[in-house]
Amino acid sequence: MANPLFDDRTVDFVLHDLLDASSLCRLPHFAEHGRETFDLYLTSCRKLAREQLFPAYRPMDTDTPRLEGGQVRVHPAMRELWSRMVELGIINASTPMELGGQQLPALLSVMGNAYLMAGNLSAAGYAGLTTGAAHLIEEFGDERLKRDYMARMYAGDWAGTMALTEPQAGSSLADVRTRATPTAEGHYLISGNKVFISGGDQDITENVVHLALARIDGAPAGTKGVSLFCVPKRRLINGTLIDNDCASAGVFHKLGWRGLPSIALNFGERGDCHGYLVGEAGRGLAHMFVMMNGARLMVGATATATASAAFHESLDYARTRPQGRPLAVRDPLTPQVPIIEHADVRRMLLRQKAIIEGSLALCAQAAKWADEAAHETDPEAKKRAQLLLDLITPATKTFPAEKGFESCALALQIFGGYGYTSEYPAESYLRDQKLNTLHEGTTGIQGMDLLGRKVMGDGGAGLQILSAEIAQAIEAARAAGDAQAPLSSLATQLEQAVADLGATTMELAQRGISGDRLGMMRHSTDYLEMFSLIAISWLWLRMATRATQSIAATPARGPFLRGKLKTAQYWFATDLPRTASIGALIRSGEESFDSARGEELE
């Protein structure tokens, strides 16, 4: 069976039953859209992902980019795939119409992208990076940069990258050292070394435009000294492209995402690398942060996509691999049964489903808030959506990445020993998945962002709004009744967990107020996990409520909707209860690991 990448019915269920995607079209910015444009767009993304991107996935994983004579050469299939993605309009799908885009809600572009990522994350990666880089110029660049660079990137003529990381500046971007020296002509001369720059060079497009962080000569140390620059591989001078002294110094050999080169990049080895300031001097990180929610949401969606592709491989295998007999059958002469007949294999399948569909709902909900935060006309609603988006982003990035890794491991487990070989793709999804807990801020950084900045930073305002949202879902679940599943007891269980999260947060706030900031932050990664488990449970309760409401009206969807109810019940039985012990751990302030020093850690 060909891998469907995602279950279309589930994607439609999340979009329409859970989130009423068409309701976004009440906003003037999305008025040109409707269910019809959404469906047609998704159909095209599905076909592109299944028919073009997916067949190139394994070849691109095997035959990886090489550095030859200073030029990175990528898999030859990529040129065709790039053209197909550009043609479909994915690079500028959500860009304003006046800039040639189609103002598609982020909700739909994220879902469309999820299919492309599931089909071939490296191929889709080139496009996603280009959109992100062009968007930075759109937001902060001057007219010349928009005309000369952004327009060509949105048109798919050129590609883009994010060039932030340096050897000494990974998580700590305030330590960026790349230099930018002002010149009389207005441009800056850039010099410095970047590492891990994805798509940093390739032979697909004639030019690559880096959005790079650098420090203007004489700028203060730390965050306030970092500025954002547009640094093209070839600069455009009077209509001609001139080499801009960006040298590819090496291609990293990576665990996964092998079709997309991550390279070491040296700017200004010959002293001739021009960079153009984007936005305000000294606000480079602040400008980057504006894009951060979107970038982190895309990581969550990619993690979900990778887990989903792996899940479908394992589901197909479980249905076709004969091994063993049911517990009750002792006769060795009876034929073996497909492994899906074994309860433990079904457990591994349902657990993947719970993680993947919970993650999908989380990413979709975050994307919808992003749309509302950007385009609501009512200032109150706009502010509210922004608070919710800011709050949920660390979980949207981390839960799919961390649990997606577990999910990919379960997919591999279902293949038994064969999963450990490269005969089957389960191993490559596990490799691909690992990046998502690392880039765009590691899990540790996300934990600190959630607790320190998002929860404590705004005095708990965002958390209060989210709690009110959850209370509404609890009401709705109780109202839907227990005819199909014990919704009211799930509702009560979630109510207790939310109260627990509230109490835990209060206690940590007290610690902060009393001056024990280290004590407040010690368990920030645990806090992120507790928060994420509750957010996912909230989404599962809502999905179960919608499934209950729909079963009577659309009996043909019965098996599909019962699948949602079973998965919600599973999640509430296995994972939501864990919030109680994590909460207790956080409140206890347990500090063995923190106080362990020197030899104690050896």
Binding site: T37, D39, Y41, A556
Partner: protein, 266 residues
Amino acid sequence: MKILVTIKRVEDYESKIKVKPDGTWIVTDGVNYRANPFDEIAVEEALRLRDANMPSEVIAVSVGSELSVNEIRSALAMGADKGILVKQAGWVDSDAVARCLQKVIEREKPDLVLMGKQAVDVDDNVTGQLLAEYLGWGQATFASKHESLESAEEKAKKPGVKLAADKASVEVIREIDGGLETLSVKLPAIVTVDLRLNVPRYASLPNIMKAKKKPVEELDPKALGVDVTPKVKVLKVEPPPARAAGIKVPDVAALVQKLHSDAKVI
């Protein structure tokens, strides 16, 4: 050149199709629908012919319920210029479809009609032939081409059905039992297309947005003077027999023996 292309709403072959317990039809609840894949190839060919012979126009026509407007929209989103829906709920047999199309064609006067050779729902493979007969036009069925679907010509979206220099005929390469044959058909004509003619494009987002503004006209079969009462009676619908389990044979000799005595194919 004016090209008319047909597009039918059919059950998605990926859906699990079940026969109703009383054997009158299939269970439609929970089934997904899509455009007939053969028709998508016809739309693609129409767009290529149009673009190679501008100025031209492509009209996408469907006969079916109001839901068929979705499939017309998908043709418009691929790039067709306008749509016509002959609205008729319920099952319409191939003959009635051909007669509806005849009326639309008499009104629109296209130079060329492109159709899928068959629809994947009932696989009749007769509508194009009936339509040519009713119109008294020439026909070329099962259009295909020499170049592979991986070829440079295909990637460049070159039409496989070629318009003659004098624009009075088209050259059609068609699949026949022994291979391919080439026909020249005087226009106006009906051409039905086979699977290997082209790879249909995906609707791009810009074209999806443009399609929203393209007109779709609705016509009523009665107003066209067509009686759509089916001439074909459905006596009984039944699922194909379940495939029997395979067997393993110990060696080639046993295989030849089985093929001869049981399967009776050699």
